[in-house]
């Protein structure tokens, strides 16, 4: 009886176990083939150039150079296989761009963000910004156009009337190529001391300290955040 059971088991096993099971490991080898036969939906960033070279060339130089076409236009494999078959859509409404550019405090600092409720409400983004080369329509005059968070913080602090350029010397090119031309930052304790040293001649309301003994070997901004310098 035992022998019968064992033979039956072997027989069943030889029929039921897929023949390619165990070829590479403890699994069905053809499962890999099935998985890689899955349909591709996103064509990839290289194929668009073949037909849309003008737009790709324009995009290459702008801020969106690393944003693949399919981020906004959606999966394009059907379109690249047969351009007549499927026309890709482009998001033209105001809701799409804020996915990336709405101001959210969790976003990395320096990433261009707006508060859509106050940034030209009701106007579609593309009426001012060409999405393939999305520079601001006019070069911004004020710093808070880009540095909104800092500007908001500073507006609540005693430094509210200190202009940005009093501490940061800003080359004009910074407004066009912000990453390549960086504003300066103060480097010495004496810089803060110009206003806050007890020897300085600034108005009395400004808090003053002995710059030689106060905080000794630390730089001022290691304890006081200059955009919100109140001791907390």
């Amino acid at each position: 009886m035992l022998i019968f059971l064992v033979t039956a088991f072997i027989f069943m096993r030889s029929i039921l176990v897929p023949p390619d099971f165990g070829k590479y490991g403890h699994y069905r080898a053809s499962a890999i083939d099935e998985i890689i036969s899955q349909e591709i939906k996103y064509a990839g960033h290289t194929v668009c150039y073949d037909c849309h070279d003008d737009i790709v060339d324009l995009k290459k130089t702008g801020y969106h150079k690393n944003v693949a076409c399919e981020v906004c236009h959606g999966p394009a494999a059907l379109h690249t296989d047969d351009p007549g078959e499927l026309k890709l859509q482009a998001p033209r409404e105001r809701g799409y761009c804020p996915l990336c550019h709405e101001y959210i405090s969790s976003r990395p600092t320096g990433f261009p963000q707006i508060v859509s409720a106050s940034h030209n409400p009701m106007k579609p983004c593309i009426s001012c910004h060409e999405p393939h080369d999305p520079k601001p329509p006019q070069t911004p005059k004020e710093c808070d156009a880009c540095h909104a968070e800092i500007s908001r913080t500073k507006s609540l602090s005693h430094h509210v009337y200190v202009d940005c350029i009093e501490c940061h010397q800003t080359p004009n090119e910074h407004k066009i190529k912000p990453r390549e031309y960086l504003p300066s930052k103060p480097t010495t304790r004496e810089f803060c001391g110009n206003c806050h040293s007890k020897d300085s001649t600034t108005p009395e309301e400004i808090p003053k300290i002995d710059i030689n003994s106060h905080g000794e070997r630390y730089m001022c901004w290691q304890c006081h955040y200059p955009h919100l310098p109140e001791a907390q």
Binding site: F9, M12, V17, H26
Partner: protein, 397 residues
């Protein structure tokens, strides 16, 4: 599909804190609670039976065959909840064909088959063989043939053959004890080996499972014995009952100590997960863990059996105390399984939030199915009692 999504949507309201988005669906439901509960009863009943044969506990003789048949009846049902909970039960044969040797679950089929074939059936067969042969000689019709088939047409009741039977039972029992430990310890290992889940991951898990299994098995036999004896208009053997109760008591003390040890160890080590587990125990598991499992299922029965041991208690009162204690123990062990299986899935593996479990009534994984699976072994047991009467007076002397 829509049904699943609707079910999940209704769960989103119950979430507190943050859980990974895939964690809303609780994957092991009521059926997987029932599975370790039933295998626990099997292992427990068998170990009780082996007390008679291996350790020669004479007082328990009236429950010996009953325990074996109970173990068998529940063992038949044990794989059903597992099967029903699978996404694809029709593919379950793959577990036997291509078992992944590193998977605890893959071993289920083999442990189960070993236990059923090599241990339980063999022991029952050897133990009943002589009686079966004697019965067939006095019987007619289907019953005769049924017993003939079960006895596998053996006829030898010579002194030597009977001696061999006895020795075989002894041997199978000795193999059987580690097998029963294996069967249920292995179920504990399925949970205890999941390092991703701090509620499960513990070396104590197989041992705790084992001792709670023995507790539930003894309590079950005690219940069955107390229900069935009056039904047969027979006198309950108080010596047997007292012995059962005191075994129940001692094993429960071990079980209780192990669980307390686990608790102390966890709170003392206070690892990363302690905050969320504390929240779980004091919140969503409070009733099922503290009230039902610990208080109702452990402390009250322990206290009442201890009281019976210390004070002279009249037979009738003693019986009812044992009976109620055994029922409480069953409820307690069931909720132990619940707290392990469901409890282990109520907190997020991000340790930042809790989800909820909502039972469905109908369907493969619903309440109805589970009740059916819990009643089925009782039905099977009833049939087994009819075919293979375990009573002493049915023995042919």
């Amino acid at each position: 599909m829509e049904e699943i999504v609707n079910h999940l949507v209704s769960l989103t309201k119950e979430i507190s804190g943050y859980i990974y988005p895939n964690e809303i669906e609780l994957h092991w439901g009521l059926l997987v609670v029932i599975y370790p509960y039933i295998t626990g009863l099997v292992a427990g009943a068998f170990i009780l039976a082996s007390l008679v044969k291996v350790f020669n506990v004479k007082e328990l003789q009236p429950t010996y065959r009953m325990s074996l048949l109970t173990a068998l009846a529940f063992l038949f049902v044990a794989p059903l909840p597992l099967l029903a909970h699978l996404g694809h039960p029709e593919k379950s044969y793959e577990i036997f064909l291509t078992p992944n040797t590193s998977s605890a679950m893959a071993m289920f089929g083999f442990v189960y088959a070993w236990y059923l074939m090599a241990v339980l059936l063999l022991e029952i067969w050897f133990d009943y063989r002589r009686d079966l042969i004697v019965w067939t000689s006095n019987e007619k019709g289907i019953r005769k043939w049924l017993h003939k088939i079960i006895s596998l047409f053996s006829k030898d009741i010579s002194e030597r053959a009977l001696k061999f039977d006895k020795k075989s039972v002894q041997m199978v029992t000795i193999i059987g004890i580690p097998s029963a430990f294996l069967l249920h310890g292995y179920v504990g290992f399925i949970f205890g080996s999941i390092k991703a889940n701090p509620w499960w991951s513990s070396v104590l898990m197989p041992i705790v499972f084992l001792f709670s299994a023995i507790v539930s098995g003894i309590a079950l036999i005690l219940l069955i014995y107390m229900v069935i004896t009056p039904l047969r208009s027979k006198e309950i053997d108080m010596k047997c009952l007292d012995k059962l109760a005191s075994y129940l008591f001692y094993i429960m003390i071990i079980d209780f100590s192990l669980e307390i040890l686990d608790f102390i160890h966890r709170t003392y080590e206070a690892e990363e997960s302690i905050k969320i587990l504390a929240e779980l125990v004091s919140g969503r598991l409070f009733v099922s863990l503290v009230v039902i499992q610990l208080l109702m299922g452990m402390i009250i029965p322990l206290g009442s059996i201890a009281a019976v041991k210390f004070f002279q208690v009249p037979n009738e009162l003693r019986k009812s105390i044992y009976f109620v204690s055994a029922i409480l123990v069953q409820i307690g062990i069931f909720s132990t399984r619940w707290n392990v299986v469901i409890g282990g899935q109520l907190f997020s593996k991000s340790f930042r939030g809790l989800t909820a479990y909502k039972m469905t009534f109908f369907g493969f994984e619903g309440l109805l199915m589970s009740l059916g699976l819990l009643l089925l072994p009782i039905l099977i047991l009833f049939i087994l009692f009819k075919i293979l009467p375990p009573w002493d007076e049915a023995r042919s002397n």
